[in-house]
């Protein structure tokens, strides 16, 4: 399954939480990413075409997957790919995996 953030969600990814405004990381995670990942298919997230990529959005959308407690870093490596064709977006794919790696489940101390 492919999710193109610019086409399927918003070309203007913005805040962290839904209360921050439209196009937030929380909204993307809860409405698009989680249902797709829980469907059992391999998910490819394409980040080409977005007008900007704030870290708050990336951390909440992707790091937030770990905080739900439903996925681990290794499991996400198996079932999800983050891809970018254009060179200016490539560094963001690495940042997204860094955020996933650094995140901890919400109940972990």
């Amino acid at each position: 399954m492919m999710i193109n953030i610019a086409r399927d969600f918003s070309p203007y990814p913005a805040g962290r939480f839904m209360s921050d405004g439209p196009g937030s990381g929380e909204e993307f995670r809860d409405k698009m990413l989680l249902p797709a990942l829980e469907g059992g298919e391999h998910v490819t997230v394409i980040i080409d075409g977005v007008k900007g990529m704030p870290v708050s959005f990336m951390e909440e959308a992707f790091g937030g997957l770990i905080r739900t407690g439903r996925f681990t870093y290794d499991r996400l490596r198996e079932i999800m790919t983050v891809s970018a064709e254009a060179p200016q977006y490539k560094r963001y794919t690495m940042m997204i995996w860094d955020f996933i790696k650094a995140a901890k489940p919400a109940n972990a101390h």
Binding site: S10, Y12, A14, G52, P54, S56, Q88, D98, A102
Partner: protein, 388 residues
């Protein structure tokens, strides 16, 4: 022959009786008093022109003319500029101050005003702060409309910058067909945009509204980085600046943004401003605050109390340092690092952050510097200067 009314005949009889009683000396005293009154009025009151609610009027000033520094620029005249902004903010929020700006319909007198004709130079970021203060005051006070006094004597550069940023629209001064407005080919500034939430549509289109990045020789990566950095600065305002009610933010929980392009200096500028709690005040609520404390301990100091503004510059620098090194922990520090990352991706660029009484500056390929100042700017201001 016309017959006078009974009332007028009564008044004439009374006046003639009074004149008959009056001595020559008392008539002289009366004449002197009238003359003195006239002389006093003409000596003190000067006629000024005032634009208010789209109309040009002649008014007299009965109150004090408030001093404005000749150079309003935080880079070269910080203390005077910050002090003026502080006085302006207090003046606009004070009830008396607002009444002073409203001339009476009968007398056409203005109590006092800010003498903008004295300004010789104003920077984009200061123009944004001034315009945001007036926008805020207008929304706070009903039916209030400020007056623009003696516009024709203002410096042309200052006038054009304030006109293009939308200052006169906020003051209800209609100058669309005025001869005063001159379009500059060397300088372009966008009208200020304000908001409460992180509106990607507005922020990401700001750069392209100002210019075509490719025409200036910028690649897509620069556009992407500047957009992301601006969005992160706005997010800091949305998420942290107005978290709880405080004295600074009770008037309006908003952020303001603008962009400017100066062909003569080959400089592209973006500015984000909010009047929230500021970085030094919110530092102790960060999840990365222990790391900030470690930075201060490394400097041989204790982390400052949020109420202490004497080390605000150091506090901003510590927050930036933690943001850049926080590879293991996510969340808030990373946002500041992204705001600064523009200096890595653009060949010649500079970022300046002013927050409460501190300032932080980072130029491409140079070490970051910070300064602890005496006067607060009343919020957080982030400025990106990119050379093309």
């Amino acid at each position: 022959m016309k017959r006078f009314s009974e009332h007028y005949r009564w008044w004439l009889r009374r006046h003639q009786a009074q004149e008959a009683c009056r001595t020559r000396w008392s008539r002289k005293v009366q004449k002197f008093k009238r003359k003195k009154k006239f002389m006093t009025a003409s000596a003190i009151e000067e006629w000024h022109t005032s634009y208010r609610r789209g109309r040009l009027e002649r008014v007299t000033i009965s109150g004090e003319k408030q001093d404005v520094p000749e150079i309003l620029n935080l880079e070269i005249n910080y203390e005077e500029t910050a002090d003026f902004l502080r006085r302006l903010r207090i003046g606009l929020r004070r009830k008396d101050g607002r009444r002073d700006h409203t001339p009476s319909r009968r007398t056409k007198k203005i109590g006092g005003y800010w003498d903008f004709a004295r300004i010789k130079q104003i920077s984009t970021e200061v123009a944004l702060i001034i315009a945001s203060e007036y926008e805020s005051a207008q929304s706070f006070v009903r039916h209030w409309s400020p007056s623009a006094i003696d516009i024709h004597t203002w410096d042309r550069g200052v006038f054009n910058l304030l006109y293009n940023i939308g200052f006169f629209e906020l003051a209800n001064v209609d100058l669309k067909n005025s001869e005063l407005v001159i379009e500059s080919k060397n300088f372009k500034i966008l009208k200020l945009v304000g908001g409460k939430l992180s509106d990607g549509d507005v922020i990401y289109n700001l750069f392209e509204k100002l210019c075509s990045p490719k025409e200036l020789g910028f690649g897509d990566d620069v556009l992407l980085n500047i957009n992301s950095a601006m969005m992160e600065a706005v997010l800091n305002s949305v998420e942290h600046a107005y978290k709880e009610n405080n004295s600074l933010s009770k008037y309006q929980h908003r952020w303001w943004i603008t962009g400017a392009l100066d062909f003569s200096k080959r400089l592209l500028k973006f500015v984000v401003f909010d009047r929230g709690k500021t970085i030094p005040v919110t530092l102790n609520t960060w999840d990365r605050y222990p790391a900030v404390q470690r930075v201060f301990r490394f400097l041989g100091q204790e982390a400052p109390d949020p109420k202490d503004s004497s080390r605000d510059g150091t506090a901003i620098a510590a927050a930036m340092a933690v943001g850049k090194t926080s590879t293991k922990l996510p969340n808030r520090g990373k946002g500041l690092a992204q705001i600064e990352s523009v200096t890595q991706f653009c060949q010649e660029s500079k970022i300046r952050i002013y927050s409460r009484c501190g300032s932080y500056e980072k130029t491409t390929r140079r070490k970051a510097t910070h300064v602890n100042r005496n006067t607060a700017i009343g919020g957080t201001l982030t400025v990106w200067d990119v050379r093309f």
